[in-house]
């Protein structure tokens, strides 16, 4: 009986190992997912950096919202408000409007963490909604670049803005670490 149990155990382990190899093979052989259209792709990228920034804004302690690592740079809240402001410029350009030139939303106007989070969330949601509405054709139609006297497309503009959002995300990662905290995106996945 004892010998039988040992054999059974060995077979069980071998079977489990084989299964896991098969599962890995299946994953490798699975055909890559098909490509989304340009509007969907721009929205995915826009929402991805948006999600990471919104998670920070929601997570960072309100009593540290005015933290800045050195006096000459933007505070945590000012960084978030700057991003919300630039997103608003994006939406204005997408709707054919003129840029307001006021990218720095005032901390005096957005006093609480809830205010700051809400305006950031809305700015990303509005940008995504406009791209959704424009669709693949509309997103590739020429529009005026709000920052230079040249034409561009909403698609190029959106992805350029993403790079800009990334720059501020990277700064905020350091703000987190300097406060002894781990950014939400860098925490172990549950």
């Amino acid at each position: 009986m004892k010998k039988f149990s040992l054999v059974a155990a060995i077979l069980l382990v071998a079977g489990m190992m084989a299964l896991s190899v098969l599962a890995q093979d299946a994953a490798k052989k699975e055909a890559p997912k098909p490509v989304p259209g340009p509007a969907a792709d721009a929205i995915v990228q826009w929402n991805e950096i948006g999600r990471k920034l919104i998670a920070m804004a929601e997570d960072f302690p309100e009593d540290k919202y005015d933290y800045k690592p050195t006096p000459e740079v933007r505070s945590f809240a000012q960084q978030i408000l700057h991003l919300a402001g630039t997103n608003m410029e994006f939406s204005a350009a997408a709707n054919g409007g003129k840029p307001s030139g006021e990218e720095e939303l005032s901390r005096a106007q957005y006093k609480t963490k809830a205010d700051v989070v809400a305006v950031l969330k809305k700015s990303f949601a509005d940008g995504a909604a406009i791209m959704q509405q424009k669709g693949d054709k509309g997103i590739m139609t020429a529009i005026k670049n709000p920052y230079s006297n040249e034409m561009t497309t909403l698609y190029s503009l959106a992805l350029g803005f993403n790079e800009h959002s990334g720059e501020h995300y990277g700064q905020l990662v350091v703000y987190y670490r300097l406060n002894g905290m781990v950014p939400p995106e860098s925490r172990p996945k549950k």
Partner: protein
């Protein structure tokens, strides 16, 4: 004669005042430059963040290359090498080559400022060459994103990597400021 001189002076001042207004009007009326093709737009975004990061690599004092804001973070040098290594996850698949593997990481290989700066520069130049080689039509061709087993258009893929570079640029901006230095891009333009 005196009256005439005064009048002349007044006319001169009025003329000088009018000149900038005219110049502004001319600038306003200049039609915006036509949109560049998608290949040029993505190349501009790619090269712009590449230029900013390369400028940092070349500018930051070598004796601070191992600086990190906190012990658990990447050093200045490691962050630069991470960006450059990551660029080849774009460039290799676009060229039909295999993405790098762990053995390719440069972290333990490149130590001096000259080596690191040259590698960073080359990684962006290689990516730019791959984008150029694709041209407008080729940018819509598909590659498999090695991170997501997902088909992706080359152009969307490139913008995603530019955003990633942006995140690390932002991190390095904070490293500059923590060392009492101003990032090259943020210095007054000559």
């Amino acid at each position: 004669m005196r009256k005439l001189s005064l009048m002349a002076a007044m006319l001169l001042v009025a003329g000088l005042m009018a000149l900038p207004v005219l110049a502004q009007d001319a600038a306003k009326k200049d039609p915006p430059k036509p949109a560049s093709g998608p290949s040029q737009s993505v190349l501009d975004t790619w090269n712009d963040i590449g230029r900013k990061i390369t400028a940092m690599a070349e500018d930051f004092p070598e004796d601070k290359y191992e600086f990190k804001a906190k012990p658990e973070m990447r050093s200045f040098r490691e962050a630069l090498l991470h960006v450059a290594d990551t660029n080849y996850f774009f460039t290799n698949p676009v060229k039909g080559e295999k993405p790098p593997t762990e053995g390719d990481w440069s972290k333990d290989k490149l130590k001096s400022k000259a080596e690191v700066a040259a590698y960073v520069k080359k990684s962006f130049a290689d990516g730019a060459a791959a984008i150029k080689a694709k041209g407008d039509a080729g940018l819509n061709s598909l590659v498999v994103d090695p991170y997501a087993n997902q088909q992706v258009r080359v152009i969307d893929f490139a913008y995603g990597f530019a955003e990633h570079s942006g995140e690390h640029y932002g991190l390095l901006v904070a490293y500059y400021r923590l060392n009492g230095l101003v990032p090259p891009e943020s210095r007054p333009k000559k």
